[in-house]
């Protein structure tokens, strides 16, 4: 599943670079930081994107760190539409990709009811959408602010031998799927 997402992102990157050779397309990158606000409280997020821009449309590959409840590494494709083809403009964005767990060791122990023997961590869907505003800053950079919705999934799979009711022992496979829905507020610089 994760390989599939990686291949999609890789393919998209190659396509973007290839098409960037065409007239009117420019490279664009950004760095950003912000907060994620949800039921589990606030958490930081950092990231950067790199991609291409043509007139009021831009598309980029993005990654970073998402500290909401479980530290993870989102890898996503971001598509942005600006209202005007200039430095000062409102914009809207959508992004989608895969959320990779930071490590293979379990970090969440809420809701756990027994000690597992084997554990596996998996990522899941990552997407978001929102609006923002950018304005000129420095020489060739734009300062932007954005707010929107952000969703990430995270899975823990535990396998444990157990002997229910004192009977024959069996392997219990328990899958926890966490779905986090947050308000995302970011600011950053676009180059």
């Amino acid at each position: 599943m994760q390989i599939k997402y990686l291949l999609i992102v890789l393919f998209s990157t190659i396509m973007m670079i290839a098409s960037a050779q065409q007239k009117g397309i420019t490279f664009e990158s950004s760095v950003q930081a912000g907060l994620l606000e949800g039921q589990q409280g606030s958490a930081f997020q950092f990231g950067f994107t790199a991609g291409i821009k043509q007139k009021t449309w831009s598309t980029a590959i993005g990654t970073g760190l998402d500290y909401y409840q479980v530290r993870s590494i989102p890898l996503y494709l971001n598509v942005q539409k600006r209202l005007f083809d200039r430095q000062q403009t409102p914009f809207a964005y959508v992004s989608g990709g895969y959320n990779f767990p930071w490590s293979s060791q379990p970090q969440i122990d809420i809701w756990r009811s027994w000690l597992p023997q084997e554990q596996e961590k998996k990522g899941g869907l990552y997407y978001g959408a929102g609006i923002g505003y950018q304005l000129p800053a420095l020489k060739k950079a734009a300062l932007f602010f954005a707010a929107g919705y952000s969703y990430k999934e995270y899975m823990e799979i535990s396998k444990s031998k157990m002997c229910p009711f004192g009977g024959p022992c069996v392997e219990q496979v328990e899958k926890l799927t966490y779905r986090f829905r947050r308000l995302s507020v970011t600011t950053g610089l676009r180059f």
Binding site: F165, G166, V173, T177
Partner: protein
């Protein structure tokens, strides 16, 4: 201006729609299998405790090798009997139904096996026609699941023999556990390639062992001594409280080495009917099978969630003074389980790393000679340059005449469901 208003209203609408979808509420879904027990009366269960047609290996556990036969525990279900007359082509010849079975030991024509808290004696003189000769009720009280006070009639006792299952998905916060976890352990015993001995030799992860005319077993906190002078009619002679977290038992000379989660205990058998504590060595909390060989005891400490520890190592302990064992050396390992020593070769099952063979000519400076990888190992019997290895995916047999290049003799695979 109109363009800006249209753009902003569309963007805001899209964002609000996405936002409203879950109102920023996190959730967690738990999927698992729900087990509903199938019961039989104890009398009915006992009537079915006999050898049947062979079944595929699924969840193999402890091991006892006696002569040309391998008795291999199928965790919680019974014992496979494997004819190993030809180690290159071992044959699974029958299966003994024993609900709740975890461990076993063999002496002469008798097999001793646990069934929850009971110990059953089987006559194995004909391995394809094994039958019980004695039921010892509620011996290992820590494992009691059905002997309620005052109940002695097997017809009035219900035993869980299986389950109906149902895949279930619930909200994590509503999930409420109803199961009890029973850690599976694996053990081994006896010889195979040499002439059949009268009694098997316990392996490093066994909780049953036979020494002379006594069967010794450990529960989670007790040591039990059972007189088997009359092998078909054993009698319990002592119960000793050893502590908590007791896991394994290993006989050496006239002593019992008991592995627990907090240390190693040594019991003296000058009076075999009533073992007495002689010494102990404490270590960090972890799972720890133990073997002994003359001056030294070898203890593998295993960490992990079930063992509540991060320690994964081999301890070499000087036991020349049995009353005061002393730690002499440590060797890092990955996830050690059972171990065995044959001459100067020490074999360690190191979980997913596989089987590790060490030159133990100098026990305090072990040299890793070879790692046989590609399988997840639990326990090993090593005798006469042959090793029988219980692994997650099957039962392996290796020839390690040349420890640097062990060769696979055979494998019986575990059935994959």
């Amino acid at each position: 201006m109109k363009k800006m208003i249209r753009f902003m209203s569309m963007a805001v609408t899209a964002t609000v729609l996405l936002t409203m979808q879950g109102c920023f509420k996190d959730d967690c879904r738990k999927s698992y299998t729900l087990y509903q027990p199938i019961y039989k009366s104890l009398a009915q269960v006992r009537a079915e405790m006999k050898s049947t047609t062979p079944t595929a290996l699924e969840n193999t556990g402890k091991l006892n090798v006696f002569g040309n036969y391998i008795f291999l525990n199928e965790a919680g279900k019974g014992i496979h009997i494997i004819d190993n007359s030809n180690p290159t082509a071992p044959k699974n010849i029958s299966f003994i139904n024993i609900p709740g079975n975890v461990d076993l030991a063999v002496k002469g024509s008798y097999l001793y096996a646990d069934s929850y808290s009971d110990i059953i004696v089987f006559n194995i003189s004909n391995p394809t026609n094994v039958s019980p000769v004695k039921f010892m009720n509620n011996v290992m009280k820590e494992r009691n699941v059905y002997w309620n006070q005052g109940i002695t009639n097997p017809d009035s006792i219900n035993v869980v023999v299986g389950y109906t299952t149902k895949d279930t998905v619930v909200d994590c916060e509503r999930y409420n556990t109803w199961t009890r976890t029973n850690g599976m352990m694996f053990a081994s015993a006896a010889s195979i390639y040499a002439a059949a001995p009268q009694t098997g030799t316990g392996g490093s992860m066994a909780s049953f062992t036979i020494l002379n005319n006594y069967l010794y077993t450990v529960g989670s906190s007790s040591l039990y001594a059972i007189n088997i002078t009359d092998p078909g009619n054993p009698a319990q002679t002592a119960v000793k409280n050893v502590g908590w977290g007791i896991e394994t038992i290993y006989p050496f000379q006239n002593k019992l080495f008991i592995g627990s989660r907090t240390g190693m205990f040594i019991y003296d058998l000058n009076n075999p009917s009533n073992p007495t504590a002689q010494g102990q060595f404490s270590h960090a909390r972890s799972c720890d099978p133990v073997i002994a060989d003359g001056q030294y005891a070898y203890v593998t400490l295993r960490g992990g969630t079930q063992c509540n520890s991060f320690t994964n190592e081999l301890n070499v302990i000087d036991v020349s003074n049995l009353s005061a064992p002393v730690l002499k050396a440590r060797h890092n390992l990955t996830n050690p389980h059972g171990l065995a020593k044959d001459g100067s070769t020490l074999l360690i099952c190191d979980g997913k790393d596989g089987l590790k063979l060490y030159d133990a000519s100098s026990p305090l400076s072990l040299q890793l000679v070879k790692t046989v990888g590609g399988f997840e190992t639990y326990d090993v019997i090593a005798m006469n340059k042959k090793a029988i290895v219980v692994a997650k995916d099957g039962l392996y047999q290796y020839d390690y005449s040349n420890p640097a290049n062990p060769s696979l003799i055979s494998k019986i695979s575990v059935s994959k469901k």
